[in-house]
Symmetry: C2
Subunit: 340 residues, 2 copies
């Protein structure tokens, strides 16, 4: 970006130089009107051209550094160990979305299995089962994980029998992460298997940074955007190690799970607390576009941030301290960076 | 970048719109020459202004997103566990550089101790000891780690008695990494403590990607720059877990250590192989400027890449496979990113 600005400035300077040059030539050439039409048209064209050239140069540079960038796996015959990850989809009475999500994730390279966390009071209708199972794009196992008679949000973190991979990608049924983006994030997780690695960063802000009270407010996307700082990545689109499912369900304070069940909210904050408390380290935010295919979720409801802030403070009280760690690290794909 | 291009295009479009507007006004206003000087001057000014505005907008945006970005620790009272890291400086008969390096690193927040790996045949002169110990900026412990009678490059990875931190920052005596950059990279390492986390990425390229021979050539910085792909970060400026010192010295194939000693090269490639073999994952490249304060090292010598390629292939032969994993992940400070 600075390079482009520099190019623009250089081209501006060149245009200025040309203008000055034309000015000097006026002393030698027959006297012309100070703003001769032809010269002005030339200047305008030069300026316009300068802008276009800068844009073109940028575009060409992008092409140079992206077109010739092969996939890492194509240039290296070494494949990371622990081949693949399981996708765990949390769903609730949105059968159309569920089908789309299963169809999408089952077609992504690296996916070992797709597990649908089912918390509705009734079993999934046979028609739905068939639709979901028939929509898979590859020979990927798709399973319903049953939690009948229990619709707690804690279900999404119940240990899953028969998981063959250490990594799980936890995702909501209305979120589509492109396969290439997912693959990249999985690569990040492989280097940092104890961290939560995801696409939706959030922050805990002290309500009074200079005061002695340890109260916090929930920082939504805009506060992260403004400050570049975060301390959580939400489990609605993030990789995490399967051992955290066991820790969440069997070893975390029961009062936290109770709070989640009663308030029907904040299971993701609870998981962020758990991982931060175990590792003493922040999560990792991965740059990448993700797509919401459903209607707006609870995060768009009025009072959402207030409820989330209450969760933060309740959990801090239960832990006895604030385990979340703030960071400004963002994992980006260096093939898409212009300059480094 | 694309945002800036878009802004420029929008401003160009606005200028065009203004031009068209002026054209329409011609129908209403008294007939003027088709390229009236005033209109042309206006167009030129509009175009020039458009370029300047785009630059200014970018600059303002940068200020907005950087000036108001506090340090994460300033906004969160939670500090990561495992407070700090040890700096391990590899040195060889460059006393001036060593003093500068110790002076710099001992002043960085988070540094628990500075260990100088000493492999010269004689003990460090008393005058040097005094100079080095007196140059520290804070109450940071500085120690010489003695390897008398053994100048092998493997010394830089010998386990260090009394290390109080899990993390070590391995660095050459002629490299200065700014404290803020170091702090950021340490944060990355805290999220990925099994990975090597550093500033100098390199790649192993198959000599014949479509062939069956498993031969590799060493990819220097320019190949990483061109492709965005790497599989090693060199230990001349990288964080790694102290357990790798024990693995390197006491558990790695002795033939690899012998190779390093005999060829006086490639201890960093050997460490990259070791970590990749243990983790099955790639290292993490951290974006950041580092400064060489000495004369050019061996990497500038003729035939350097050829020697490094020989190391790669020798180690592959000893391991029986290529453990290095390619990646395109780059950790950047989101406070310095313009758009995300």
């Amino acid at each position: 970006m600075l390079g482009m600005a520099k190019q623009l400035l250089q081209l501006q300077a060149a245009a200025t130089h040309r203008r000055n040059g034309a000015g000097r030539r006026q002393l030698l050439a027959p006297v012309l009107p100070r703003h001769a039409p032809a010269a002005r048209a030339g200047r305008f064209a030069a300026c316009f051209l300068a802008c276009l050239l800068a844009l073109a140069a940028g575009a060409v540079l992008t092409l140079c550094v992206t077109v010739h960038r092969p996939e890492p796996d194509a240039v290296s015959d070494a494949s990371p160990r622990g081949s693949g990850y399981a996708v765990v989809i949390n769903t609730w009475k949105r059968y159309g979305l569920l089908k789309k999500a299963v169809q999408h994730y089952s077609g992504c390279a690296g996916v070992d299995a797709v597990h649908v966390v089912w918390s509705e009071p009734r079993e999934p209708p046979e028609a739905l089962r068939r639709r979901v199972l028939n929509c898979t794009q590859a020979a990927v196992e798709v399973r319903f994980v049953m939690n009948r008679g229990d619709d707690s949000l804690n279900n999404r973190f119940r240990p899953i029998q028969g998981l063959r991979t250490d990594a799980i990608f936890s995702v909501d049924d209305d979120l589509i992460v492109p396969c290439s983006t997912l693959r990249f994030a999985f690569g990040v997780w492989q280097s940092a298997p104890s961290a939560m690695v995801g696409f939706v960063p959030r922050m805990h802000w002290p309500t009074d940074p200079r005061g002695n009270t340890k109260e916090y407010r929930y920082g939504s996307w805009w506060s992260v955007w403004r400050t570049g700082t975060y301390s959580m990545v939400l489990s609605k689109a993030s990789f995490l190690h399967k051992r955290y499912l066991d820790l969440y369900t069997n070893h975390m304070l029961p009062s936290i799970r109770d709070y989640v069940t009663e308030n029907r909210n904040c299971e993701d904050i609870a998981m962020s607390f758990l991982v931060a408390n175990v590792t003493g380290a922040p999560p990792i935010w991965v740059q990448g576009r993700i797509f919401e295919i459903g209607s707006a979720g609870i995060s768009s409801l009025k009072g959402h941030d207030l409820r989330r802030s209450r969760c933060l403070n309740a959990f801090v009280s239960m832990y006895g301290h604030m385990p979340l760690v703030a960071t400004t690290v963002k994992a980006v794909d260096s093939r898409t960076s212009w300059f480094w």
